[in-house]
């Protein structure tokens, strides 16, 4: 498979140079899983969505239809869609491969037209294919039938990412998957590359090597689906002279490309007021933003991120400018509002682990990931370095509470 791939597309293989082995392994895994899938497949009609850059090669290997697929990958018009459905109806079992960017609603349309089901195959998901929790269920035909489409696509997928500032590497060979609904805390010291990672995910910076996919697409393409809470209460947003009310700031979260005009609709204002109520700040709607306290500002920023009902909520150092008591109130707000929303919260403060996160990643030049909100020994070393036994920090690090860091005997 791997050799065939390189032979078929040397240029494409080069794109994955950084994570080639990982890529090849995922090809092999997909190969095996598709074989198994075909063996178990009951009679019927299915639309397959394959979230893998090499979908075209699989299609060829299995002698599957490829012609209509490519049209489908490029946003088919009504005519192309009709042709596709006609073709799909002719044969008994029809397998259609689609590109990662393909919209799930279009796959669902085809499936509905041929009376079939949509099956999503996503080897790039965090739990593919080794996780027993997966158990091939996501693969089983009909698994997605109840909800129309079940897509196991990670919200964020980072492979072999390297980023350098003026030749100085800030992040090296970072791999990360954030699944839908996951709430990931990203911990790291100042200057460790946390904010750089965020800016890469947001599309503000471009990677030096490797690739990032957000909602299966290049960063920045789906900016309207991301709710972003920036770190700074300093700089521009801290200005005393800018006339703007709390409600105005929240309404800013409804900005979108191409949006023009002066007024907000009544519905938008209502949504903004609801978002303020969610963070328990309805009283600041008419007040000048610059007169609010640090904690109030931070909550208004969270409301601004929530108002667009984001598929991904990103918080950069939400506790940086808040006193300890305000911080824990904020955690309470965070753990309540964030439920069900895929969240990425970046902090240098370990108490963030108490805000209801489900996983943790540590960044300090490189990135380590744990699927539970507890630090591994390796992570503690990445964050604080290794200290000699006579150093007081060594004793401190060994005594870290077990609900924050995995104790030494377990590790």
């Amino acid at each position: 498979m791997r050799d065939a791939l390189v032979k078929a597309d040397p240029a494409g293989a080069k794109d994955y140079a950084a994570g080639y082995d990982r890529f090849a392994a995922s090809c092999d895994a997909l190969d095996a899983d598709i074989k198994k899938l075909f063996a178990d497949l009951p009679a019927g009609k299915h639309v397959f969505m394959v979230f893998h850059p090499a979908w075209g090669y699989f299609a060829r290997d299995y002698g599957l239809t490829q012609e209509p697929i490519q049209q489908l990958g490029r946003e088919p018009g009504p005519k192309a869609m009709a042709g596709l459905i006609r073709e799909a109806r002719k044969d008994g079992v029809k397998v259609i491969f689609v590109e990662p960017q393909f919209s799930t609603s279009q796959a669902a349309t085809v499936a509905k037209a041929i009376g079939g089901t949509v099956v999503a195959i996503n080897p790039l998901a965090a739990d593919w294919p080794a996780s027993p929790a997966h158990g091939g269920q996501g693969l089983a035909p009909g698994a997605g039938h109840q909800q129309g489409v079940q897509v196991r696509q990670p919200v964020i997928a980072i492979d072999g990412l390297t980023f350098s500032y003026n030749g100085q590497p800030a992040l090296e060979n970072v791999n990360l998957r954030v699944a839908e609904g996951e709430r990931l805390a990203v911990l790291g010291p100042n200057g460790g590359g946390k904010t750089t990672l965020l800016k890469l995910i947001l599309g503000i910076l471009r990677p030096s090597a490797g690739q990032i996919r957000v909602f299966g697409d290049l960063p920045g393409r789906h900016s309207a689906r991301i709710g972003y809470v920036p770190q700074r209460l300093d700089g521009m947003a801290e200005r005393k002279d800018l006339p703007i009310t709390g409600l105005d700031v929240v309404l800013m979260g409804l900005l979108a490309p191409g949006r023009i005009g002066f007024r907000h609709s009544r519905d938008e204002v209502r949504r903004a007021e609801e978002a303020l109520a969610q963070v328990e700040m309805p009283q600041v709607a008419g007040r000048r933003f610059c007169e609010l306290s640090g904690g109030q500002k931070q909550r208004v920023f969270i409301a601004r991120a929530l108002v667009s009902e984001p598929g991904l909520l990103i918080l950069d150092e939400p506790t940086a400018n808040i006193d300890p008591q305000g911080r824990f109130c904020l955690y309470e707000v965070l753990s309540r509002i964030g439920r069900g929303v895929t969240t990425l919260v970046v902090s240098h403060d370990m108490s963030i682990l108490a805000s209801g996160v489900t996983a943790v990643a540590c960044v300090n030049g490189r990135l380590l990931h744990a699927a539970e909100p507890r630090l591994t020994r390796e992570m503690v070393e990445l964050l604080y370095g290794v200290h000699a036994p006579e150093c007081p920090l060594d004793a401190y690090l060994r005594r870290m509470p077990p609900d924050i860091a995995v104790p030494e005997m377990e590790a």
Partner: protein, 271 residues
């Protein structure tokens, strides 16, 4: 004062003052909110290069100056966007270079000796009708553009990075605002002189922004304040036979410092 109003030149001056007040109230608020005052100063002075160029090439002054100034402004905007550390220095150099270029070109003009003072302080009481029409058109365009991109401008002023993340065309808006400021400055130089332009662009908006609840209201307040400054300044100029531009600036500056002093006193008392 009332007999003065029957004189056509005073009517023109009043009309020019009102039009300039609207223009400076709207653009000035955006400029101050985006912290582009220094940039606007640079644009205003670099415009003098355009004036010199027009005289040197013996071309119509207004189109050449607009083209030259917008070009210089976009260069400065590009430098500001890149956020290199010496942005201020580069703009300062462009500021001086534009002005020097204008003076040199005017020196080289055969037989023509320009009066620099008339461009620095303008001459609001000798405004030709053509300029009034141009100003009125500019005002209409300005208000339309501001209404259309208002939310983007507010977001850009408040938090540029967030606005960009939300997909607002921040870069385009930055250039658009700079270009608007450049066109406004050029049209107003003939009316009011570049020093008065900068005063009208900054004083009233910064006073208005301290009290207003939104940027839009600040624009309205800034316009109202500008009208007040201009009317008071014109009356003083008429009553005591002063240079009109300087009288308007004197009124604006007095109000500004009074407000500043009051703010300081209030804060002391509050503490």
């Amino acid at each position: 004062m009332f007999e003065a109003l029957s004189l056509p030149f005073m009517q023109h001056a009043l009309l020019a003052a009102l039009l300039a007040a609207v223009c400076c109230g709207v653009v000035g608020t955006l400029v101050v909110a985006n912290r582009m005052v220094f940039l606007a100063g640079g644009i205003a002075h670099a415009a003098y290069g355009g004036v010199g160029l027009a005289y040197f090439l013996a071309l119509p002054v207004l189109p050449v100056t607009v083209a030259f100034t917008v070009g210089a402004a976009l260069v400065m905007a590009a430098i500001t966007l890149r956020r290199v550390e010496d942005t201020d220095t580069v703009i300062g150099v462009l500021w001086a270079a534009g002005m020097a270029l204008g003076i040199i070109l005017l020196d080289l003009c055969p037989g023509y000796t320009s009066d620099l003072m008339s461009y620095l302080f303008g001459s609001i009481i000798t405004v030709p009708v053509g300029d009034l029409i141009a100003l009125a058109v500019l005002n209409a365009v300005l208000v339309a553009v501001t209404l259309r991109y208002y939310n983007g401008f507010v977001a850009m002023a408040f938090d540029r990075e967030f606005a960009a993340v939300r997909g607002a065309p921040v870069t385009m808006l930055h250039y658009l605002l700079t270009a608007l400021a450049a066109v406004s400055v050029v049209l107003l130089i003939r009316v009011a002189g570049l020093i008065l332009v900068i005063a009208l662009l900054t004083v009233a908006p910064s006073l208005a922004m301290r009290r207003a609840a939104s940027l839009g209201r600040a624009m309205v307040w800034a316009t109202a304040l500008n009208v007040l400054f201009c009317l008071a300044g014109l009356w003083l100029a008429y009553r005591f036979d002063l240079t009109s531009g300087a009288a308007i600036i004197a009124v604006a500056a007095t109000v500004f410092f009074l407000s500043l002093g009051r703010g300081v006193v209030c804060r002391r008392r509050g503490a």
